[in-house]
């Protein structure tokens, strides 16, 4: 094979191209031609894209080993589509870039260009994400055919889904911070359109706007981070590029820089960069300060929630941090903050989820909590932690999608009702949904054979190990990771509790149904994906864990190669962590069963006893109210005041100046009083004054 990576390049371009093509075809032909059959282009497109992604995964698996070491080979793995901007000699070469260039035996030029090419690259991390995204989207698309059946603008939904998958795949594929930002916001736009799909519902429109704006706040931090990276490293490209004036410009995550950790700027600047990137990640993955938009995003149709707000979009933040591991590696403080944010979010979200009554809201808070876990994993900074985070991301995608689709089929059956207080005992009427939902719950809670157990256990192990290992040179006075470990364990308990609370409330107990609804099992277009996802949720953890293929494959992606090489030590036995977490989970399930099976009296007494905690949790810890009070409210008042200032002060001043000549006129008017002789007198005086000037000059 003359060029080993030739078909990688074709597959690589094909993955995003198919959904885009599908979206365009649906948009153009949708309203008039396809009408009720508008789903076919997108379903086909996503299916093909999934297959291509899997083939790509296989190809990369074959070549990843030597791609990681042979930079020239890795370079051929890039596909440059077109040049976005190329402005010559814009930035004076910063020291970090100069040092890296010496390393690459090129004389650093005085000024660096600002070249941005639309370049796609693939490595194990990307391949993994691609396959996960496209596969889950394919299943959700099939599910949506049933769920969205009969909707007025059926074609519009599928066009948006196609556009979303294109943006997500491109986000994962591009090899430049600026383009990462481009598709970062493009994904945000698609979520805005999809959340606000039923735009006539005011709550949906408001939820869409809120989602976009909170994401925008996150992107604000992300943009600042990108600018800082550009100022310090002189380029925004991940990969190494050749300068027009000859010589190599080492990319931020390029082979040259990855080879030698010292080329990364340490200290305050690195921490600033990482924290800003973290703000972007928090915005997108709905972490603690910027998580308020995800629960509201449930207003969108359920396939959207399943696809975007469970599996794909929210994981973009995690992907970005994993991609920038070398940057985070340069500042341990930033990694610690990531861990803290992750831990804190996990705990808070779990606490809130416990008392929610809306099934989709519970699942939304559970997503936030599980993402907190992933951030926690990444925060440990060890290869074990990072691969654990990615592994959890993968498994979470499947079982959370499953749970959301399950909730969707419940809503579909009950005519749009999802409030747990209004129905119960659906197990007989909807057996498939019930059992697949149970599998999803087991996976989410982290019961032994199911996927959730393996990935969450890995994360707990990583945190445990990080808590005891003293990283050379950095020892914080406060045992942060110790505390985080126990928080993680507590969250695992809460997760198990609220998961099964939801299951028991929905499916167990006497069969009670809201008045107008007549529950029935969903059509097989909906149950088929449920079954497939259930199978994955059950099996994937075990398969990946057994072959330990996942760790080694992930370790070959360039960003993590250095980290993996650094930690070659034997993986310590984490049996006691697994045992502890299983015990905690079983206690959680037991408690849920005790409270919610049979007549549910004790829980009310408990709720009364813990009144303040219950109230706080039910009110979502008053985040929305606090934000309105502190940020939105004051800004609106300031805006109103400024508009008054504008209308009266500034405009008033301008009109005042405008009226100056008129006032001067009013002063001079009386001179013209009409009497002939006063004119004559005035003329005489005028002439005398003129004569007076004679004396002066």
């Amino acid at each position: 094979m003359s060029d080993p990576l030739a078909n990688i390049r074709t597959l690589l371009v094909l993955v995003p191209a198919l959904p885009l093509l599908a979206a365009v075809v649906t948009a153009v032909l949708g309203p008039r031609v396809l009408k009720s059959r508008a789903h076919w282009p997108v379903v086909l497109g996503l299916g093909l894209s999934a297959i291509v992604a899997l083939m790509l995964l296989a190809e990369v698996n074959r070549h990843s080993r030597n791609m990681a070491h042979d930079s020239k080979l890795a370079a051929t793995g890039h596909v440059t589509l077109w040049r976005w901007t190329g402005i010559p000699d814009v930035l004076a070469t910063p020291p970090a870039a100069a040092a890296a260039m010496e390393k690459a035996h090129t004389t650093p030029p005085r000024m660096l260009p600002f070249d941005v090419d639309v370049t796609l690259r693939v490595d194990p991390l990307t391949a993994l994400m691609l396959s996960m995204v496209t596969f889950v989207s394919f299943l959700v698309a099939i599910y949506a055919v049933g769920y969205m059946h009969g909707d007025r603008s059926y074609w519009r939904f599928f066009a948006y889904v196609g556009l979303f998958v294109f943006s997500m795949t491109m986000l994962v594929l591009v090899s430049n911070f600026l383009l990462l930002y481009v598709f970062w916001e493009a994904v945000g736009m698609c979520s805005y359109l999809l959340i606000g799909f039923w735009y006539q519902k005011p709550e949906a429109a408001a939820a869409g706007k809120k989602a976009f704006l909170v994401n925008r706040v996150g992107d604000f931090g992300f943009a600042l981070g990108i600018f800082l990276i550009w100022i310090t490293y002189g380029t925004l490209n991940f990969h190494d590029t050749t300068l027009s004036s000859g010589g190599v410009l080492p990319g931020v995550l390029g082979q040259i820089r990855l080879g030698d950790a010292s080329l990364y700027v340490p200290g305050g600047l690195a921490t600033a960069i990482c924290l800003l990137l973290l703000v972007g990640a928090c915005g997108k993955s709905a972490q603690f300060p910027l998580h308020v938009w995800l629960p509201d995003a449930m207003e969108g149709p359920t396939p959207v929630s399943a696809l975007i707000h469970a599996a794909t979009m929210v994981t973009a933040g995690v992907y970005m941090i994993v991609r920038c591991t070398p940057l985070f590696g340069a500042s341990p403080q930033a990694q610690q903050v990531v861990a803290i944010i992750g831990g804190l979010t996990a705990l808070l979200a779990a606490i809130i989820a416990v008392t929610q009554t809306d099934l989709k809201r519970i699942l939304a808070y559970s997503t936030i909590s599980q993402l907190g876990y992933m951030f926690l994993g990444l925060g440990t900074g060890s290869m074990l932690g990072i691969s654990a985070g990615m592994f959890h991301l993968l498994t979470h995608a499947f079982f959370k999608a499953l749970l959301f689709l399950g909730a969707g089929s419940v809503m579909h059956a009950l005519g749009g009702v999802i409030d747990l207080r209004q129905f119960s005992g659906l197990r007989r009427k909807m057996p498939v949904t019930c059992w697949t939902f149970l599998i999803g719950c087991l996976a989410l809670a982290g019961v032994l054979p199911f996927a959730g157990f393996w990935s969450k256990d890995r994360i707990l192990a990583a945190v445990h190990e990080r808590a005891h290992a003293v990283v050379a040179g950095y020892h914080s006075s406060f045992p942060v990771y110790e505390w985080l470990y126990w928080v993680a364990i507590g969250t695992a308990f809460l997760t198990a509790f609220y998961t099964f609370r939801a299951f028991f409330l929905a499916f167990c107990g006497p069969e009670r149904v809201p008045a107008a609804a007549h529950p029935h099992e969903s059509p097989n277009t909906m149950t088929l994906p449920l079954a497939i996802l259930a199978a994955f949720a059950a099996g994937i953890g075990l398969t990946l864990e057994a072959g330990s293929w996942f760790d080694s494959f992930l370790a070959e992606s360039p960003s993590l190669a250095a980290l993996a090489a650094h930690e070659t030590g034997p993986a310590g036995s984490h049996l006691h962590v697994a045992v502890l977490s299983t015990v905690v989970v079983l206690i959680g399930i037991g408690l849920a069963a005790f409270f919610y099976l049979g007549e549910r009296t004790q829980i009310d007494r408990l709720a009364m006893w813990l009144r303040p905690v219950y109230e706080a949790s039910h009110r979502k810890l008053w985040f929305d109210e606090v934000y309105d009070l502190l940020i939105v409210g004051p800004l609106r008042i300031l805006a109103y005041l400024l508009s008054l200032v504008d209308r009266f002060l500034i405009d008033g001043l301008v009109n005042l100046i405008g009226r100056l000549p008129v006032w001067l006129g009013a002063v001079l008017r009386p001179t013209q009083n009409g009497l002939l002789q006063s004119y004559a007198l005035a003329m005489a005086i005028g002439v005398l004054v003129l004569l007076g000037t004679l004396v002066l000059f």
């Binding site: 814009v90 006539q200 925008r216 400024l642």
Partner: protein, 575 residues
Amino acid sequence: MMEFSPQHLLLWSLALPLIGAGLICLLNDGRPQRARTIALVTTLLTLLVAGRVAFMFPANGINLESTGGAFALTDASWLGKISGLDVRFSVGLDGLSVWFYALSALLSFCCVLLSWESIHERPATFYSLLLMLLCGMMGVFAARDILLFYVFFEFTLIPLYFLIGIWGHEDRNYAATKFFLFTLTGSVLTFLGLLTVVLVNFSHTGDLTFSIPKLTAALGPVGGHPMPLHLQLWIFAALTAGFAIKVPLFPLHTWLPLAHTQAPAAGSVLLAGVLLKLGTYGFARFNLPLAPEATAWLLPALLWISVAGIIYGALVALAQTDMKRLIAYSSVSHLGFCMLGLFALTPLAVQGGMLQAVNHGLSTGGLFAIMGMIHDRYHTREISALGGLARRTPWMALFMVFFTFSSIGLPGLNGFAGEFLLLAGMFQRAWMTTGPGGLGLKVIAVLAVSGVVLGAWYMLWLVQRVFFGPLREPHGTGHGHGSHDELGHDLKQPDRPLVRDLSLREIGALVPLAVFIFWIGLCPQFFLSRMAPALQEATQPAAAAWQARQTNEAADRQTALNPRPSVPVVAETSP
């Protein structure tokens, strides 16, 4: 006879509108049909010719050195040589003006389509004024002679004054007069500034020339002998008086919301799309090259004003109840971005700023076009009176969301390209300046990026409030132009004829804008490469001056820190 050399095309593009206006006045029969078809044909022809010239413009300023950096230059004596005054009619395009020139042709074409059915009284005068305005706008950007620039600069005032005054809305008379006087007062001071520059050059070199390239060369730091700082400050102040009002820089913007709310759709599209760019163009063409030291001296203040404009414009837009007024304030914010880019003086920021000026023309032009369409259907601009229009007019909603995303700088569209470059450039400027000044610039850079968030807030609030949510139409109105609508019966008012969605004509007006928005969004390099050389040439002196100031200040700080009798630093004398 029709030759296709750029010079001829450029002259034809300037002459066509006037010929069209003349034809309309001659063949005027009171009814709109004839006038508007002539106008459409003329604007279409002008657009084709202007587009042809614009796209013949060589990238990266190749082989333009001979004509002083001007493309398609025609240089002819106008008033003859009278007692030493040599006023010439010299017209040509260079990097700075080529895209604005094309933009004005494009927007005028859209305006004619826009006001196809909404203009009923005196249509002939309306369309001939529109064409005169088009000629004025293109003339300003094509002028290579100071006097010709100023003649066209003021000439654009008259048609717009009548457009707002006659076909405007309820408070049009006041709006037109305020707009006219406010801008005129500023521009007469600019007139003085320009003449002083000419005369200072006359006193140095002895030839009384009005041609812009000659003056910039003669007064530029390299080669010519620049003016002393105090004179530069005075000239900067005079020029800024006129241009700052035109770009509505922060404190001088109060005429814009009033003019926009009262102007007819076509008027506000052209006003927002092109006329605001005269100010930006003026700054880049005159202020920066002719008074580099003054620019450097005033840089922090100018940056503060621009960023104040961004934040102030965004916030006040948030509190508006009138749609057009909201978009007018958004223009103040967007132009604040452009000026921030221009004054940051790094190559990236400057190119980003000018690109953002072009983008603003496209996106805000589109937005005002849609406001016009809403006004045609519902005769109101109140946000509270409307709601959920997407239900009634889905196509309009689609275009509105599209233009909103373009204006708030969604990546993939043109807004992002300009905004990202200029913010990156501003960042570079902030982080490159050491010393106390640096902190201020850093604050400015961060505030500017936060402007992006505010921008998204009020635009999305507008879209959600007017287009999404339950359908709410002002009572009694909502009568469409079509007598009957094939969309089926109306839910609530079966007897009232339905409001029609966008007609093919209206879509035809918006599609060209959308095409360019996508093009700039996906491949800005095509446009930047045309602008780069001229922009570099215009801003380089000011950037060097700022650099010199920095090094001097750093040196002063150095000597202040350790005042030992060091070797006397020989102050390098300026040439």
